[in-house]
């Protein structure tokens, strides 16, 4: 394992402290743990909290700031944060308008956030939540935990965050967040695996000429492995799966080409070149495009595509001001 770290036990804390030192006007860290909140608490709005395992930077601490999150809680690498940490975050940001939690659909994340919500509700804090599940690679059935929450979650942060900033009440912010969840779909792939520092070795293996289609953001198995193909062919494979899932015909969309951590922007733009042309051919209008590292998987090479169906309400909120370490509008 070759990594820029000091000691495996400290990676999460040192990462958060480094983030805060880089953006002291945006964020500060709570003393109780790896919990990041806005440098200046804003009253009179619904407070948004999200989080999950570390290793997905800039998610989620990079999205704390005006127009997006009020708090992000970082667990150990690829491990959900614990309820006591989430509870401290909720208490720090809660306003009289209540708190919305944005939780990615993993068994541990959902349980830990639910426990924290119960603790906060016992204190009289109004808490609601949405669960993001945008990954179309996993079949959605009654017999699984359901689809995974991946990069589409960033759209929920952006749009629900913008709604909260208007002073809308908790039910309204929840409604808009759920609307994003209902309209965003994603799918990813990997060229190389990643290594969790505490594990010291890669979570899975790929041969030199192989790729994994449908990979999760923790390196979970995808739909299948196959021989590597051209960027255009891979982009079409992922897009076809997304387009088959919900009806995008004649819709306007926001596109996110998300790098997994080790993929150069050059390659992400090459992918976007094809995504743009392919969607245009299909008569799908692209309203806005985001290319970059939004929800990574340590040093995994690969990318994901997210497509969000838009209406006038979502467009306006997507365009609203955001000023966070990793997302500015």
């Amino acid at each position: 394992m070759k990594k820029l770290i000091n000691c495996v036990e400290n990676v999460e804390r040192e990462m958060i402290e480094g983030l805060v030192k880089a953006y002291p006007n945006h964020v500060r860290k709570l003393d109780c743990g790896n919990v990041v909140v806005r440098a200046h608490k804003k009253e009179g709005k619904v407070a948004l909290i999200s989080g999950g395992g570390s290793g997905h930077e800039p998610a989620h601490g990079g999205y704390v700031g005006e127009g997006m999150l009020d708090c992000a809680v970082a667990g150990a690498v690829f491990t959900s944060p614990t309820p006591d940490q989430i509870y401290e975050g909720i208490k720090a940001i809660a306003t009289d308008k209540g708190v919305l939690m944005v939780v990615k659909n993993y068994t541990g994340d959902v349980m830990n956030f639910e426990m924290a919500a119960e603790m906060a509700q016992a204190d009289g804090i109004d808490v609601q939540y949405v669960v993001t599940n945008d990954d179309v690679a996993v079949e959605n059935s009654l017999y699984t935990t359901g689809r995974r929450g991946v990069a589409g979650t960033v759209f929920v942060h952006k749009i629900a965050g913008a709604k909260a900033e208007t002073g809308a009440d908790l039910n309204e912010v929840h409604r808009v967040a759920q609307k994003v969840v209902d309209n965003v779909r994603s799918m990813g792939m990997a060229l190389t695996p990643c290594t969790v520092p505490a594990a010291g070795k890669p979570g899975f293996e790929l041969n030199e000429d192989e790729m994994e289609i449908g990979i999760g953001i923790h390196g979970e198995p995808g739909t299948h492995k196959e021989k590597i193909k051209s960027a255009d062919e891979i982009a079409v494979t992922l897009l076809d799966k997304i387009l088959a899932d919900i009806d995008y015909n004649d819709k306007e969309v926001a596109v996110m080409i998300n790098g997994s951590g080790a993929t150069p922007l050059m390659e992400l733009f090459i992918v976007n070149n094809k995504v743009h042309d392919y969607l245009t051919e299909k008569g799908i209008k692209i309203y806005k495009t985001f290319v970059g590292n939004y929800m990574t998987s340590l040093e995994m090479a690969g990318f994901s595509i997210s497509l969000l169906r838009l209406d006038d309400e979502l467009k306006e909120l997507l365009d609203a001001k955001a000023d966070t370490p990793a997302f500015k509008e």
Binding site: G75, A76, F78, T79, S80, P81, T82, P83, D84, Q85, Y106, T107, G108, M111, N112, E114, M115, V138, Y143, T144, T145, A198, A199, G203, G216, H218, E220, P221
Partner: protein, 207 residues
């Protein structure tokens, strides 16, 4: 059956057993989960051990609740909330007693199982810790009602839990990360059922 002092001793032994089986539990999880069950459980019970010295003057309910809180705040993942809820519910069921009998234990175990079902939105047959705990509880309850002998009952419970762990090899996971594997999860035993069974075995050997 046991008092606060004996309970602290049992918890210490459970922790020792979990530390010993850390790599084994992690290996089981590597195959069908995300390969951290042993690591996470060992970290959680290390934290529990640190608190044991504070427990000496406490009642059984408070001790179990404190164990649950320690697990919830250090284990993370899915096991943290599940085992944490189990111990907290067990503690609440027993309350401020300094001694517990077989009926108290069974009531606490029933409350723990209900807590796990509620937290995990799960039931028997989904390749989880419930597949060890529910058969164990049923066997123990039957045996205790018939003979009023807790030692005999816990032996029946361990037997049923071991069978339950074996049974998890034959079924598809429908909860947790293992559920992404679908049919590929068949043939592998569930790490959570395994750790639950380990705990019951420690209780058996401690009495």
């Amino acid at each position: 059956m046991t008092d606060s002092k004996k309970l602290i001793d049992i918890i210490q032994k459970i922790s020792t057993q979990i530390q010993m089986d850390k790599d084994y539990l992690t290996e089981l999880d590597n195959v069908i989960g995300d390969g951290d069950h042993g690591i996470n459980m060992a970290r959680g019970f290390k934290e529990v051990e640190k608190k044991l010295s504070d427990f000496s003057n406490k009642d059984i309910g408070s001790i179990l609740k404190a164990v649950g809180m320690a697990l919830v705040s250090t284990v993370g993942g899915a096991s943290g909330p599940l085992y944490g809820t189990a111990f907290m519910r067990a503690g609440a069921a027993i309350g401020a007693k300094n001694e517990m009998d077989g009926n108290d234990f069974l009531n606490a175990m029933e409350a723990a199982i209900e807590g796990i079902k509620m937290r995990g939105k799960s039931h028997e047959g989904e390749k989880t810790m419930l597949d060890a705990l529910i058969p164990a509880y049923n066997a123990m309850k039957k045996s205790y009602e018939e003979n009023n002998d807790f030692k005999a009952a816990i032996s029946k419970g361990v037997e049923a839990a071991e069978k339950g762990v074996e049974y998890t090899k034959t079924i598809i996971a429908t909860k947790g990360r293992a559920s992404y594997l679908g049919e590929r999860s068949i043939g592998h035993q569930d790490p959570g059922a395994t750790s639950a069974c380990l705990m019951l075995k420690v209780i058996q050997s401690s009495l």
